[in-house]
């Protein structure tokens, strides 16, 4: 046993997979300690806030001010408020009035604005340009002027008479230290369509999905193992019956069964655990088949016959003379089942047949929400990409472990 373990941990593939998987598990346990709270709490109003650090504007205006004169501040300010579309429109204008744009860099905001001042003429009517477009350039010009225009923003409050009165002036050289601002929230992966913290949700969903995979794997392995042992060891008519059932369920696609059963259970009854058990119930055939063929080859080995002659009970023979020999296969099948269970949950959820949505997030549900709210078409990559990456990493790590084990236990494949 100890020796086998040592051998397994000599396989670089297994070790790589193991490290990735353990890292995911650690993340699952440690992150909630740093950032506790309900993962489904809607902290944001509105959908899909970008990843980043959010500073409370309200608190910031009241924080102590330091003055900095940074040389590139103005340019940066313009750069972030000048949208990509505006830049394209500006270049189009330059082209239309015949300016030289051969070495123009659209990221060089300063140069762009310089050229704009030089070439824009509100009275010009470039050939072929429709009126709406000319008007648009008028508006663009105005907003460009405003961007660079004022060097302060006034904050006004209503006074006793109900009139606005300036209470504070914020200059473009005013800075506050984020440490002085009472409310700063860092959202490494932004928020989702419901305004939830995606990272917190992802960590919790990963945990749930791994649990679903484990339950599905345990259920499938137990059923497959029992059937395989009975069919292989007892043989006879029992073998025929079990193989009949197994063959049928090998051919009927498990995914279809999964859909039918999940649908039949109904939304209300469908908790994460129920979904996991259903997945397990539809994916045991492979284990049953391979366990059976292994047991058949073991059944007539000398040590098994010796046990039989010594009058040991069936349970004892199975536990001491059969199971240790097929343990590696069972473990390998179990690992694959955990990984396919996680994937099945995700696919079910995408079909709208996942666990009910109010209790816990799962990776599949997160994916489903992101798709329902078109995260993929509106550029909110943080809502779906980390989910895909997590599923891929989990199944990659499990498969690596499986390949590593395969190489240790089936040396013909060893490189």
């Amino acid at each position: 046993m100890k020796n086998t373990l040592r051998q397994v941990f000599h396989s670089s593939k297994f070790v790589a997979g193991f490290i990735i998987f353990v890292a995911i598990l650690l993340m699952m346990f440690i992150y909630p300690l740093i950032n506790p709270g309900n993962p489904l709490q809607q902290i944001g109003v509105g959908t899909f806030a970008k990843p980043g650090t959010y500073v409370s504007l309200y608190d910031a205006t009241k924080s102590p001010v330091s003055t900095f004169r940074l040389p590139d501040a103005a340019e940066k300010r313009l750069g972030t408020s000048l949208s990509e579309e505006d830049k394209v429109a500006m270049v189009e204008w330059f082209e239309a009035v015949g300016a030289d744009i051969s070495d123009l860099d659209t990221n060089d905001t300063e140069k762009m604005l310089e050229m704009w001042d030089e070439y824009y003429d509100p009275s010009a009517k470039p050939k072929g340009m429709i009126r709406a477009k000319i008007l648009y350039y008028g508006r663009l010009d105005k907003s460009l002027k405003e961007m660079g225009g004022s060097d302060s923003i006034s904050i006004a409050d209503k006074n006793e008479e109900g009139e606005l009165e300036e209470t504070k002036k914020i200059l473009d050289t005013d800075y506050v230290n984020t440490k002085d601002v009472a409310n700063v929230k860092t959202l490494p992966l932004g928020t989702d369509n419901f305004g939830r913290d995606v990272l917190k949700e992802l960590v919790s969903a990963t945990g749930t999905s791994i649990r679903i995979g484990l339950i599905a794997g345990i259920v499938a392995t137990l059923i497959g193992l029992t059937f395989g042992l009975l069919a292989g060891y007892v043989g006879g008519i029992l073998d025929d019956i079990i193989m009949f059932v197994t063959n049928i369920f090998t051919v009927i696609p498990g995914f279809v069964l999964l859909i039918l059963i999940s649908y039949s259970i109904g939304q209300e009854q469908r908790g994460a655990a129920v979904v996991a058990i259903v997945i397990g119930f539809t994916s045991w055939t492979w284990t049953a088949r391979s366990v059976r063929s292994q047991v058949i080859s073991l059944r007539n080995r000398d040590h098994v016959n010796l046990s039989k002659l010594s009058g040991h009970s069936l349970v004892r023979i199975v536990l001491t003379d059969i199971l240790p020999y097929i343990a590696s296969y069972v473990v390998m099948a179990f690992i694959l089942q955990v990984s396919s269970g996680i994937l099945s949950e995700a696919q079910l959820s995408l079909l709208g047949l996942g666990p009910k949505t109010t209790e816990v997030p799962t990776l599949g549900l997160m994916m489903n929400w992101a798709m329902l709210y078109s995260a993929h078409t509106n550029g909110s990559w943080w809502a779906y990409f980390p989910v895909i990456l997590t599923i891929t990493l989990i199944s990659f790590s499990l498969n690596l472990m499986n390949t590593g084990l395969d190489q240790v236990f089936n040396p013909t494949l060893r490189d």
Binding site: N247, I248, T250, V251, I252, P253, G254, F255, V256, L257, I259, L260, I261, Y263, S264, I265, G266, Q269, S339, S340, L343, S344, A346, Q347, L350, L351, G352, L353, M367, M371, H376, T377, G379, W381, Y384, F385, V387, I388, I391, T392, S395, F396, N399, L400, T403, T412, L413, D415
Partner: protein, 334 residues
């Protein structure tokens, strides 16, 4: 030939038995639902109608239409009789279209998308895997982990990533539907062009997914075969390495046919979900809309059709396999 007939007969028998079990499961499972489906539909259709007798009237009408007032066994035979005639009743969500009408309009899309995609993916995957086994060096260290990693990206994930990169950012191909939304299916160049451009993303995402799994399997199969005794023997008889590689790949590829037969059920599951991502007008999307609108006759019919498709594919592959691989022939035909 006699042996082959026996093999064929045995496989056919299995096919029929599995088919019957599939139909029974398809019939029974939705009926085990704790809630009365007819009642829930009635509730939905009755909407704000508070007149109890009117609701009861609707309920009775539906009960009659779906035959839920009959005993189970009678219902089953009715279900079978209707199914044979292609009659799966009326759809709830797309009333008054019939279920068979909806399926007829989507099944072609699914077959045209998935069959070529899975086959192309299978072929490319096998070629890549074989090359990988033959070249070995370099590949193993760098490309194999990448291939393994890509092979583990779920089908829907690959679909989303392809959609975002090629559809949303690069704008190479349209991102949803089977053809431009302002078109009505008809035979014209414009329509065909539109269909082809909409075909690209779903097709390639399924292909890439199939490649990953196949290539890794083919690689280890080829390595196993490359170490076989006949390789050494053929070499010592002066046969060219290129020819021997041909033997090896043929032998490694044949079991992959079984692999395809075994995995086609799983692959279809992933591919159906990819259809949903691209709103492709096939069975996957139909099933999705059926699930979201609780259209229970439609769900039952789509699952049945998918099962039949998988069964037929598996059956055909089994038959082909028995025919082309003498190892199976020798074992099975006797």
């Amino acid at each position: 030939m006699k042996g082959y007939r026996k093999y064929f007969g045995k496989k056919l028998l299995w096919f029929v038995v599995t088919f019957i079990v599939a139909v029974i499961l398809n019939f029974i499972l939705p009926r085990l639902m704790p809630a009365d489906p007819v009642a829930s539909i009635t509730g939905k259709l009755a909407g704000g109608n508070s007149d109890a007798s009117a609701v009861a009237e609707i309920y009775k009408r539906y009960q009659k239409e779906f035959g839920t007032d009959l005993p189970m066994i009678q219902q089953f035979f009715r279900f079978c009789k209707n199914a044979i005639h292609g009659n799966f009743g009326l759809s709830f969500s797309q009333y008054p279209r019939s279920v068979s009408n909806i399926i007829a309009s989507s099944i072609g899309w699914t077959i045209a998308l998935q069959l070529p995609a899975i086959l192309v993916g299978w072929l490319l995957g096998n070629i890549l895997g074989a090359l990988a086994a033959y070249i070995r060096k370099g590949y193993d260290k760098v490309l194999l982990p990448i291939a393994l990693f890509l092979g583990n990206v779920p089908a829907f994930g690959m679909a989303v990533i392809m959609l975002v990169i090629f559809g949303v950012y690069l704008k190479i191909a349209p991102i949803s539907g089977g053809y431009a939304f302002d078109m009505i299916p008809h035979l014209s160049w414009n329509f065909i062009k539109s269909v082809i451009s909409h075909y690209q993303l779903p097709f390639w995402s399924i292909v890439i997914i199939s490649i990953g799994g196949q290539a890794v399997g083919m690689r280890s199969m080829s390595i196993y075969e490359l170490n076989a005794d006949y390789v050494k023997y053929s070499r010592f008889l002066g046969i060219k390495d290129r020819k021997i590689v041909g033997y090896v790949f043929r032998n490694a590829m044949l079991p992959q046919v079984t692999g395809l037969a075994m995995s086609i059920g799983t692959m279809i599951g992933g591919a159906l979900v990819a259809e949903i991502i691209f709103s492709y007008p096939g069975l996957g999307s139909t099933m999705y809309s059926a699930v979201t609108s609780a259209d229970y006759p439609l769900i039952s019919a789509t699952t049945l059709i998918i099962t039949i498709m998988v069964l037929v594919m598996t059956f055909l592959l089994d038959i082909i396999y028995g025919f082309i691989d003498p190892r199976v022939k020798a074992a099975q035909f006797e």
